[in-house]
């Protein structure tokens, strides 16, 4: 039977003919944990009391969420994760190496892989054609112990993309628009599969932004085919051996079809307190902001810092608006230094935070005050997300965020570019 990308990957990894609705047990190519969900994963893993990790070479520990540690409790959790890595022989990425999802994209994810992580944004690696999904601590503990996990094979929504993104409009605007169309729970338990002529112009870094937010529509995975763009990215990362083409079958069955003409998109802003509460930037124009945060697994890549630096070149942030920038990885940071982006951003008044999750989830490095408003390039604006339930979070692209930092209020980047 003709298969979607999700069905293809789950068929290969479960070694049975998998169709939407089936329950399958599939081999896992990569299982990872991070510092806020990892300690519980380790405790659950130790209760299972197996001999160890089934495939230590396929397991990774990332210290990124509260890194560097702002409190002794996190420091102790970091110590627990380091000990676990030493004892089990799995790999560990240290404080300052970057956000787990960016590092998975740079060093691990391959087309056709199954990747599970104890973090909901594990979906990010779908940009490279990997069936990547977030799970809780017990599920990841079981995947570490057994080297496999169970899945319900998801039905798929096919997202057909036409045209090219207009000036001032980015992958972030595309995915915010799409989440608004689908709704925050519209794709619960489904796969989103991206296709269409526009993919030829959508790079892997942009695909990472799009796949990253698939979960904000409830989706289990956000899958891109593996094509020339995938090969180019993997080659740039020195991983050309990891490339293999991967496409859905022509007559695969899809539950729903959604078409987007990128030419019709404009800069979008997600309003508090749900991600699907999205409007064109014109509706948010003039909202005063006390903080801008550019970074995260959604928008902390080199291309995001490049566009931010271009907008902020020779300009200053508004005196009443703090500008925080967190590169998504050490590689992104060093390249951004080499390209001069970091100097431009610092001269514009930015504070450069170490590679990691930074202010995104309110643990440190940019917690908001009562009544404060932040414009962020992250993926979530839930009440309390950035450490204070009395604060408000708006989400937008790096371009909109950088332009807004200059004026101290939410601004259409096309007015400045």
């Amino acid at each position: 039977m003709a298969k979607t990308l999700a069905e293809k990957i789950l068929t290969k990894k479960s070694k049975i003919d998998a169709s939407a609705g089936d329950i399958v047990v599939a081999n896992v190519d990569l299982a990872f944990i991070q510092d806020t969900t990892g300690p519980l994963t380790i405790r659950q893993f130790e209760k299972i009391s197996f001999q160890g990790i089934a495939k230590p070479q396929n397991a990774v520990v990332f210290l990124d969420h509260a890194a560097p540690s702002p409190a002794r409790q996190f420091s102790n959790d970091h110590a627990l994760l380091r000990r676990f890595a030493r004892e089990t022989g799995c790999r560990a990425y240290e404080v300052g190496d970057g956000v787990c999802h960016q590092l998975v994209a740079e060093y691990f994810a391959k087309p056709g892989d199954i990747i599970v992580g104890s973090d909901s944004h594990t979906v990010t690696a779908g940009a490279l054609g990997a069936f990547a999904t977030g799970m809780g601590s017990s599920d990841v503990a079981a995947a570490l112990a057994l080297g496999k996990t169970w899945f319900r094979v998801p039905e798929t929504f096919l997202i057909n993309l036409k045209g090219t993104l207009p000036k001032g409009v980015y992958a972030k605007d595309l995915i915010l628009y799409l989440i608004n169309q689908i709704g925050a729970d519209g794709a619960t338990y489904k796969a989103l599969e991206f296709s269409g002529e526009a993919l030829a112009h959508i790079t892997v870094p942009e695909r990472l932004t799009i796949a990253n937010m698939a979960v904000e529509a409830g989706a289990k995975v956000g899958l891109f085919p593996s094509d020339d763009a995938t090969q180019k990215f993997l080659t740039t990362q020195g991983r050309s051996d990891s490339y293999s083409p991967l496409y859905p079958d022509a007559d695969a069955h899809y539950e729903r079809f959604i078409s987007l003409n990128l030419l019709e998109l404009e800069p979008m802003v997600s309003f508090p307190h749900t991600v699907d509460n999205v409007y064109p930037v014109s509706k948010a124009k003039g909202i005063k902001i006390q903080q801008v945060f550019i970074g995260t697994c959604t928008n902390g890549r080199l291309e995001d810092l490049a566009v931010s630096a271009r907008i902020l070149q020779g300009k200053k942030r508004s005196p009443g608006t703090r500008l925080l920038v967190a590169p998504a990885s050490r590689q992104v940071l060093t390249q951004a230094i080499d390209n001069g982006y970091i100097k431009t951003l610092i001269e514009a008044g930015a504070i450069i935070l170490p590679p990691g999750c930074a202010a995104c989830l309110g643990l440190h490095q940019g917690v908001l005050g009562d009544g404060e408003i932040c414009l962020s390039t992250a993926n979530r604006n839930f009440k309390g997300r950035m450490g204070n339930p009395k604060a408000m979070i708006y989400l937008a692209s790096p371009a909109t965020s950088a332009a807004s930092a200059i004026r101290g209020e939410i601004t259409d980047p096309r007015e400045i570019m």
Binding site: S14, K15, A18, D22, I23, V24, V25, A26, N27, T36, T37, P39, L40, Q44, K47, I48, S49, H65, A66, A71, Q73, F74, N76, D77, L80, G117, S118, S120, T122, G134, M135, G136, S137, S138, D139, A141, A142, A145, L146, K148, T149, W150, R152, A184, D185, T188, Y189, G218, K220, T274, L361, G362, V367, R380, F382, K383, G384, R385, G387, P389
Partner: protein, 180 residues
């Protein structure tokens, strides 16, 4: 699934209760100290929750319950607060798996028929909820046989301890499939 009837009162919340509402990130430093963490359960959704919840109560909410982060601490703190089952109109995927993995039943039903404080009786074996306050009976959608088996063992860890694997039974609506 056992034939036990759960009895308790409903504590009702709204739609889109995220895992950040259930246990905010700002308490993440307490994640290795679960009794302390649990004192903050649902603090940002309903500050009165922790003072009024009684052991055996049911958490009742609307659409897309538990959206957001994969933190399993969300069902952990709900369970530690004394909640015996969660009744919602719909639930986010990761939260659903996490709750079942913690041995906390999640029942999908029309929760608009339940008000805060209603006394309920839940029959897990038959997936029904009797609302003693209104005299109505609600039918819930059934979980898959595998999830039902995980729930009967009290969660995923006891399930794996017992079976050493995922066991997908024949003739259960699930084909025996996959892996090695």
């Amino acid at each position: 699934m056992s034939d036990i009837i759960f009895k308790g009162k409903a504590i009702k919340l709204g739609d889109n209760i995220s895992t950040d509402h259930i246990i905010p990130g700002r308490f993440a430093h307490l994640r290795s100290n679960l009794p302390e963490l649990a004192k903050h359960a649902l603090e940002d959704a309903d500050p009165t929750f922790i003072s009024r919840v009684k052991p055996g109560d049911f958490l009742v909410a609307g659409k897309n319950f538990g959206l957001g982060s994969s933190r399993e601490h969300a069902p952990v703190v709900i369970k530690m607060a004394g909640i015996s089952a969660i009744l919602v109109e719909s639930t986010a995927r990761i939260f659903f798996r996490n709750a079942i993995n913690q041995g906390v039943p999640v029942l999908l039903c029309d929760t608009t028929k339940i008000s805060d404080g209603d006394k309920l009786e839940i029959d897990l074996a038959h997936s029904t909820v009797a609302n003693l306050a209104s005299g109505t009976r609600l039918t819930c959608s059934k979980v898959s046989p595998l999830m039902s088996a995980i729930l009967s063992e009290g969660g995923l860890i006891p399930y794996i301890q017992k079976h050493k694997n995922f066991v997908i039974k024949k003739n259960s609506g699930e084909e025996p499939r996959g892996g090695d």
